[in-house]
């Protein structure tokens, strides 16, 4: 023998694991907002466990007077709270010492983030929980996402409410299990309206502020992400060796400043690299000053593009209104606890900075504790864009005609006034026409009205009339002044008109986006998100629209289309795929595949590529419309991502659940197979070693023990094989006409050796028809039911097998007089490896699932219920009338 057993885990690591086992396990019920049902879920889980015999005590449960939650508390031990006197007031806190002394297997501690009254042992409840865990007590607790420390800022920004009670991330990361309690915003709001969360007056206030749908869906997304991250962790944890250090957390926070110059994109990328190196969160901000209104269309598009680029790279983005760029940035940076600001350095003549001031210089002067990083910009990237100071609308023949027409109308209107007022005053009529023209028809129309008006005035009203000759010098002055006034009025009015129009367009965009946000908040699946996005986009652009969702790593499928949209050809789908692969727009109006009928926009977020949005319309999209489309695509992308995460989370949970079932099964298998073997081997070796020393009755007893244990193992192996046959789906019942009384008596004969002091009796109603069923399956199913009754009935009791024909079915009932089923056990007893009660180690947890499997195969149903006349359970196996032969 050597001791080179190095590939085995060392006893020290085993000991360490044993100590980790000694520490209690933490389970967190995580929710997006109050009222989603965390406490309720925790209590209902606790009840299930209590029914299984687990010792659970509640240290504190906050029911908030919610009726459903209160009802769940019934039957649960809730420790009385401890009264504390603080500044003359009596307040109640969880009694930590009582809980530690009581030492339940699981302690329920509601509201992890609660702050204790001054004078308590710990200032925060999560510290109480730590103490419970250290004492080896498992803790179940509830937590809202807004209380997670690292998310505090984000949540405050979403809800405009800063939460002071936070729980450190480390505790949450150490949790052994996190269960996400998810409720869609609409359901939650409905619950709120029904008064299930708060009292009515409080509820109204909450609905206006915290529980606004936008807030709720953002919070929900946060909660889902957190839970999804957690699933990732668990999956990785399976592979990762224990004891590896957690990723290094950082306190850095980086802000990058964006302006309208093309170099901004480069600065953003630079900031991203800095943030990556520091593993720091980062924010991209653009300051909107008064200068904003003078920017050209392309410059505004560029700002939006740069912000989107930053978002894709993982930044949060913000648009800050303000007068001075440096001051606004610094104020924002302080509010956000930013440690570094990244700005680009434009190459301008020094005199430029002297005249206009320099943002970089201002920042450096006033930054105080914040580091300023100035990124030099590459020469090649710099191009001054001249000639876009004003935006000239397009000159169309229509605007010329409209302008001239208005001048004509003014001429006619001036005619009756000619006799009343002085001829000079008639210019006012013309000026009014110019104003109307510019306001309603734009700059060109206004200018043409002015020109036509000057000519018409000259022709019709200045002496000598009906010539373009002007006699009086003051009239020359009038015409010149009028022309000048007309140009100025036209320009001003046109600008006012432009602003009105863009304000109206902005309002429309906001309305559309808000509508889309509402629409997306109320749906959950990818299909619904895709359909909603397509429908809203189609309506907003009066176009056809379809949305593709990503499948797997690199494929697309059509997930939803707006009603009435034409189907897409193979070429269109190829274009959509190109968009997905390159992450760039394609199709009509884009650089790639401009000849296509559709225009494709990628739907992407910082984390993943979610899909492609395609839109088709007769007229191409204007730059403004492109911006609107991008905004809608951004919203759609994050909704798709949310749906994607939700699905991944669900799949991950199923996987973890399956893992748990497998390990339960392995433990059960190894116990159930080894125990009879231990009995057999022990008895056999005792007989061999002490054969002569044992007296005859002892020998007989040991031999009988060997037989009993071998038979027990045989029954167990039969069950295992049955279960495997059911699970494989290859079991086809062989249906024969059976005599019910025969089947029952065979089962009783087989079960008699197991009875051990339990009476076994059958009641078969006379005149039963023959039954069409599989003889072997029916016999095994009934046998399992009887065996179950014998295990739970206990010695001195009675198990009755009753067969009857009533209410259109042939029914077998197996009735015992044991303790009966625990609450909620009616369906759970048919789950694999479920064992009711603590005293039933002899059950395998397979018998009843097999009954259910066999019954289903034969078209029968099996149900469990408690006896009404006394304690005990009734299992009913019912065949429909059609099975009567």
């Amino acid at each position: 023998m050597t001791d080179e057993d190095t590939q085995r885990p060392s006893p020290e690591s085993l000991l360490e694991r044993a100590q980790a086992d000694a520490r209690g396990k933490l389970k967190i019920y995580l929710g997006a907002a109050p009222g989603v049902g965390k406490t309720y879920e925790m209590l209902s889980d606790a009840r299930k466990k209590i029914d299984e015999g687990v010792d659970i005590v509640a240290g504190v449960v906050e029911t908030h007077g919610r009726a459903e939650t209160l009802a769940m508390c019934a039957g649960l031990t809730v420790l009385p709270k401890r009264a504390m006197t603080h500044q003359g007031k009596t307040l109640h806190e969880m009694d930590l010492d009582a809980l530690l002394q009581r030492r339940p297997a699981v302690a329920l501690v509601d509201e992890l983030a609660h702050a204790n009254v001054d004078g308590s042992r710990h200032p925060k409840r999560w510290m109480d929980v730590e103490e419970l865990l250290a004492a080896g007590i498992d803790v179940w607790t509830t937590l809202n996402i807004q209380h997670v420390e690292s998310l505090n800022d984000i949540v405050a920004r979403i809800t405009r409410v800063r939460v002071r009670e936070t729980v450190p991330d480390a505790l949450i990361e150490r949790a052994d299990e996190i269960e996400l309690i998810d409720l869609t915003p609409d359901e939650l709001i409905a619950r709120l309206r029904e008064g299930k969360v708060y009292a009515p007056d409080q509820a109204q206030r909450a609905l206006r502020h915290y529980f606004a749908p936008g807030n709720l869906s953002a919070l929900r997304e946060l909660a889902m992400r957190r839970a999804a991250d957690r699933i990732d962790e668990q999956v990785r944890g399976h592979r990762r060796a224990r004891g590896e250090t957690a990723p290094w957390a950082t306190r850095e926070r980086i802000l990058v400043c964006i302006d309208d110059r093309p170099e901004s994109a480069e600065v953003v990328r630079h900031a991203k690299r800095i943030a990556d190196r520091a593993r720091a969160p980062w924010i991209a901000a653009h300051v909107q000053t008064a200068r904003e209104s003078r920017l050209s269309e392309s410059e505004r598009t560029r700002i939006a593009d740069t912000l989107r680029l930053a978002a894709r790279l993982g930044a949060e983005t913000a648009t800050l209104p303000g007068d001075r760029v440096a001051d606004t940035l610094l104020a924002f940076a302080r509010e956000q606890n930013v440690t570094q600001i990244v700005v680009g350095k434009a190459k301008r003549p020094a005199v430029f900075a002297t005249v206009y001031g320099s943002v970089v210089r201002d920042l450096i002067d006033r930054a105080e504790t914040i580091a300023i990083i100035v990124v030099p910009e590459a020469e090649a990237a710099r191009r001054r864009h001249l000639g876009n100071l004003a935006t000239w609308p397009v000159l169309t023949p229509l605007s010329v005609a409209e302008g001239v027409l208005l001048a004509g109308i003014a001429t006619v209107a001036a005619y009756p006034l000619d006799a009343v007022v002085g001829v000079t005053n008639l210019t006012l009529v013309y000026l009014a026409a110019v104003l109307v023209s510019a306001l309603t028809r734009g700059l060109w129309a206004g200018l043409f009205t002015g020109l036509a008006a000057a000519l018409a005035y000259n022709w019709f009203y200045t002496d000598p009339r009906y010539t373009f000759t002007v006699a009086a010098p003051e009239n020359v002055l009038t015409i010149i002044a009028f022309s000048g006034a007309a140009v100025v009025v036209s320009a001003l009015a046109a600008r006012a008109r432009h602003q009105t129009l863009s304000a109206r367009a902005e309002a429309r965009t906001s309305r559309e986006l808000l509508g889309l946000a509402h629409g997306l908040a109320s749906v959950a699946s990818e299909e619904e998100v895709a359909h909603t996005l397509a429908t809203f986009t189609a309506r907003a652009f009066d176009a056809e629209c379809a949305v593709f969702a990503r499948v797997g790593v690199n494929d697309l499928r059509l997930a939803g289309a707006a009603p009435g949209s034409a189907s897409l050809s193979d070429a269109d789908i190829a274009a959509a795929r190109w968009t997905m692969e390159k992450g760039k727009p394609a199709g009509r109006g884009a650089d790639t595949l401009p000849g296509a009928r559709w225009f494709f926009v990628p739907l992407r977020t910082a984390r993943l590529f979610a899909g492609v949005l395609s839109i088709s319309r007769d007229t191409p999209l204007s730059p403004t419309e492109r911006r609107r489309l991008d905004a809608m695509a951004d919203q759609g992308a994050s909704a798709l991502e949310r749906a994607h995460i939700a699905r991944a989370y669900e799949e991950g949970r199923v996987e973890v659940e399956g893992e748990r079932l497998r390990s339960t099964m392995l433990a059960a298998l190894s116990h159930d197979l080894k125990t009879p073997i231990a009995g057999i081997l022990g008895a056999a070796s005792s007989l061999r070693t002490y054969g002569d020393k044992h007296d005859a009755p002892t020998r007989a007893e040991l031999l009988a023990g060997i037989e009993t244990e071998a038979a027990r193992m045989q029954r167990y192996i039969v069950k295992l094989l049955d279960m495997i046959r059911i699970d494989s789906g290859r079991l086809t019942p062989k249906i024969d006409a059976l005599e019910v009384a025969d089947v029952v008596s065979t089962v009783l004969k087989r079960a008699t050796p197991l009875a051990e002091g339990v009476r076994l009796r059958s009641e078969v109603a006379p005149g039963l028809p023959m039954l069409n069923a599989d003889g072997a399956l029916l016999e095994q199913a009934l046998f399992n039911l009887v065996e179950n009754g014998l295990i739970h009935g206990g010695p001195g009791g009675e198990v009755v097998v009753r067969a009857s024909w009533a209410a259109g079915e042939i029914r077998f009932e197996v009735i015992d007089d044991g303790p009966g089923l625990p609450a909620g056990g009616e369906s759970r007893v048919f789950e694999k490896f479920y064992r009711a009660g603590a005293a039933t180690a002899s059950g395998t947890g397979l018998g009843l699932p097999i009954v259910k499997g066999f019954a289903t195969l034969m078209g029968a149903t099996v149900t469990a219920q408690n006896r009404q006349d006394r304690s005990g359970a009734i299992f009913t196996l019912a065949f429909p009338d059609s099975a009567a032969a």
Partner: protein, 230 residues
């Protein structure tokens, strides 16, 4: 060894196991008591003050190891742990808490009785404060700190000497790695099992006839070492 008056308590929820352990122990002249729960086992132990307790680690009402510490306070019986789960961590914990040895189910009675005898001997030795060990080939005087192998001085280093003393003092009992590390390096909690293995190998080379097939210091894989008495 006169067993006529020795009392044994068997705590296991499996009837079949109790049955053959009872008949085996009776055949070995023990007076046998039984219990099928941890609580019942403790009650029986208080009532009868057994010399030997055989306890299953997977009892329905409590983890078997939780009662080991309490059992030791009653009359310090020899404790053999039965483990059906092959759960090494719990086994190690039970040994650290005071159990003498373990048997993994399924097992034969010969192996079981060998461990029972070793455990009882260890208990007698602890009670009697045995100061010397001598099996004809190897002799250890715990008081005078003299070791002889076939009459010659094996020239042990102080560390090897300490290791051998600790093993001999607890002859028959399984000593976990942690126990031995603590005995050898009381001030160092880092616990390097590899270093312990090296010392054991050197010690075996000096006192065993064939260090590759040791007969004195046996390895309990994954758990620790045991000094096998005569």
């Amino acid at each position: 060894m006169p067993n006529s008056h020795l009392k044994a308590l068997v705590i296991d929820d499996e009837k079949a196991i109790r049955r053959f352990l009872r008949s085996t122990l009776i055949a070995e002249d023990f007076e046998v008591f039984e219990a099928d729960t941890a609580a019942g086992g403790l009650a029986e132990a208080r009532r009868n003050e057994p010399d030997l307790v055989v306890v299953d680690l997977g009892l329905p009402d409590a983890e078997g190891d939780t009662i080991i510490a309490e059992l030791s306070t009653i009359r310090a019986p020899a404790i053999i742990v039965l483990s059906a789960l092959d759960d090494e961590a719990r086994k190690v914990r039970a040994l650290d808490l005071g159990a003498d040895d373990f048997v993994t189910k399924p097992f034969g009675v010969a192996e079981f009785m060998a461990r029972v005898r070793a455990a009882l001997r260890h208990r007698l030795q602890m009670q009697g404060g045995v100061a010397t060990y001598d099996d004809g080939r190897l002799s250890v005087d715990l008081v005078r700190r003299v070791v002889r192998v076939n009459g010659a001085d094996p020239r042990l280093t102080p560390r090897e000497h300490d290791l051998l003393r600790e093993l001999v003092r607890h002859a028959g009992k399984v000593l976990t790695h942690r126990h031995l590390l603590k005995a050898l390096w009381p001030d160092d909690s880092s616990g390097d099992v590899q270093a312990l293995r090296v010392h054991v190998r050197h010690l075996r080379q000096k006192i065993e006839d064939n260090p590759d097939a040791p007969t004195c210091i046996l390895t309990e894989p994954g758990v620790g070492y045991r000094f096998l008495g005569p």
